[in-house]
């Protein structure tokens, strides 16, 4: 049985498979489909300082090769998360990573400070990249200076592993990666959804109520994979790949381009057991290739020499 354990800074994961924020609830609810003891960790839905009711329906629209969503960060706020969710999630036998969002820059640091006091939280992921607020302007995800300062603000409030989740909606994601690394991030999650749009030409209505939304699923994989690769080659901190993963081949591709772990999002919607299944399939795939340790595969992209 190959060794699957990977390290993200000081965080040791049993295997590289994590849920993606907003696509697996808080994770423990899914215990009937996927045992936490079979995966690396659970990433929470984005938690914000204040409760957020989210966007109006329709919030989802399926497209040819993926899904457009405009959930709008619906969540009951950090107070409810600390009081009710965390004590329950603590029983999960895997890493608990809390994803944090905010409307104003200071909210990130405020929420991080509250999470820092809780032992149940193993790591924190900053959602710098939600396309479903602020009309998709993505201020934090597109301005390296501002992203760096938000990360630095959060860094000052916690010693827990801190990951920054980036948006693919930029020209040079490598610059964003370097900015959050110098802000003090311990890792990078690449990527969040792409801005996308759908329309029903018969009714003239947009697919989601907010007109544009976040595009995810198999259709974004080539874009997301490239983003993850560009991040990995520009920084020394670990990169967590995310976008369009549905099969174990997808997982292996992200590892080869340099990702230390991966997150599985939309494909959980068509099989909520997929995350756990991928972990077992990863072990089998490595064994078949005669690879004893998953770390031997990470970042092994072969580039032809001239």
């Amino acid at each position: 049985m190959p060794s699957l354990a990977v390290r993200l800074g000081t965080l040791l994961l049993r295997n590289p498979l994590l849920s993606a924020s907003g696509t697996y609830g808080h994770g423990l609810e899914m215990g009937g489909f996927c045992a936490p003891s079979g995966i690396g960790g659970l990433v929470s839905k984005t938690v914000t300082l204040e409760p957020r009711g989210g966007n109006p329906a329709p919030r989802l629209c399926e497209t040819e090769a993926g899904l457009i969503n405009s959930i709008g960060l619906e969540n009951k706020g950090v107070a409810q998360y600390l009081e009710e969710v965390l004590p329950e999630v603590a029983s999960a036998d895997c890493a608990i990573i809390t994803n944090v969002g905010g409307h104003h820059d200071h909210e990130f640091a405020d929420v991080v400070a509250m999470l820092d006091e809780r032992d149940e939280v193993d790591a924190i992921e900053l959602n710098l990249s939600c396309p479903n607020v602020d009309d998709g302007k993505l201020p934090l995800a597109t301005d390296p200076k501002r992203a760096e300062s938000v990360v630095a603000g959060a860094r000052a409030r916690t010693r827990k592993p801190l990951f920054a989740k980036l948006s693919p909606n930029v020209t040079r994601i490598g610059d964003m990666a370097m900015a959050v690394e110098s802000g003090g991030a311990d890792g990078i999650t690449a990527v969040n959804t792409l801005l996308g749009m759908a329309v029903d030409w018969r009714t003239r209505r947009p697919g989601v109520a907010t007109i544009q939304g976040g595009y995810s699923g198999p259709g974004i994989k080539p874009v997301a994979l490239r983003c993850a690769w560009e991040c990995a080659r520009n920084v020394t901190i670990p990169v967590i790949g995310c976008g369009g993963i549905q099969t174990v081949d997808d997982v292996l591709q992200y590892l080869v381009v340099g990702c230390r772990a991966v997150q599985v999002g939309t494909s959980s919607f068509w099989n909520p057991a997929n995350l756990g299944d991928l972990a077992s399939q990863l072990a089998a795939a490595l064994a078949e290739q005669g690879i004893d340790d998953v770390n031997d595969l990470i970042g092994t992209l072969e580039v032809a020499r001239r």
């Binding site: 899914m30 009711g53 989210g54 919030r59 409810q80 919607f269």
Partner: protein, 319 residues
Amino acid sequence: MFRGFERERIATDAAADPFGVAILTGPMPAPPKDAVSQLATVVSSRPCGSDAVVLRLAPERPFEPLRASRFFMLRREDGTAPLIPRPYSVYRQGGGASSSTGEAPWVEFLIKVMGRGSRALEAAPIGSQLRLIGPLGNGWPVLDGDGAPWVMLAGGVGSAPFPMAIEQALRGMDGGAAVASRDLHFLFGARDRGLLYDLELFERLGVNVHTATVDGSHGMQGHVLQLLDALQAAGSIPKQIRVLACGPDPMLEAVHARAIEEEWDCWLSLETLMGCGVGICNGCPVPTREGGALAGWPNAKCCVEGPVFAARDIELVGH
């Protein structure tokens, strides 16, 4: 008396709790404990009405008897279907221990062919395997024979959660008194006769069946609520009733408005868009109603807190 609806019970327990809805469904609304993600084999597919099929599936792992108006997420696994599974109410269940012929346990779905998902399911070859996630959702409340008569309002394919509901009510549910067949009225409305799916099946169940079609091709001409008005005016259905409804949005909106106005005990089975069916995508919000058991948070999740809601707990206009 109305019993056994889990959310209502928790609601009373949690009434004193300042966190309101967060407690009602627990801090993390979860899919039902009996839900599994598995493969199921297509056993048969028969055309039904003018635009639907009844798909019979044999799951790898069979289910306990299912409460009517629970649902499953369904998807073809061979790459010819859209990615996102589609929600369908369980239409009928059989085989296994209940079967004298020794057939394997099966579940049936009544599928109206509309878009990509339903077209792919309609064309699923016999013997092929589908992804089947469930059973999901809460189902109808306990239908007991101790109170006012039950009126079931079905609009078109909204009839799907009713055959089993009628059988369960007549048999008695969860130790409650059985409903007498004279106290059960099934009102079936549709645009035309072709959309009164499996009407004969309902007529065989021995309850009061009444129909309405918009074009007058069967039963009264008009909508299902007009049919109810007419039956009440004629004295065939009393004023005091308990109501279940499932159908297209405009129909449910009208039923909801009437339920609020006339303070009916009324439950609606909603067919919102769903991404996952298990509570993880937040794609199925149902606006909650001030003063209702779900107030305290602007939205309920249709998949894990429904699909059946008491009319007094939700808002439907513009839904």
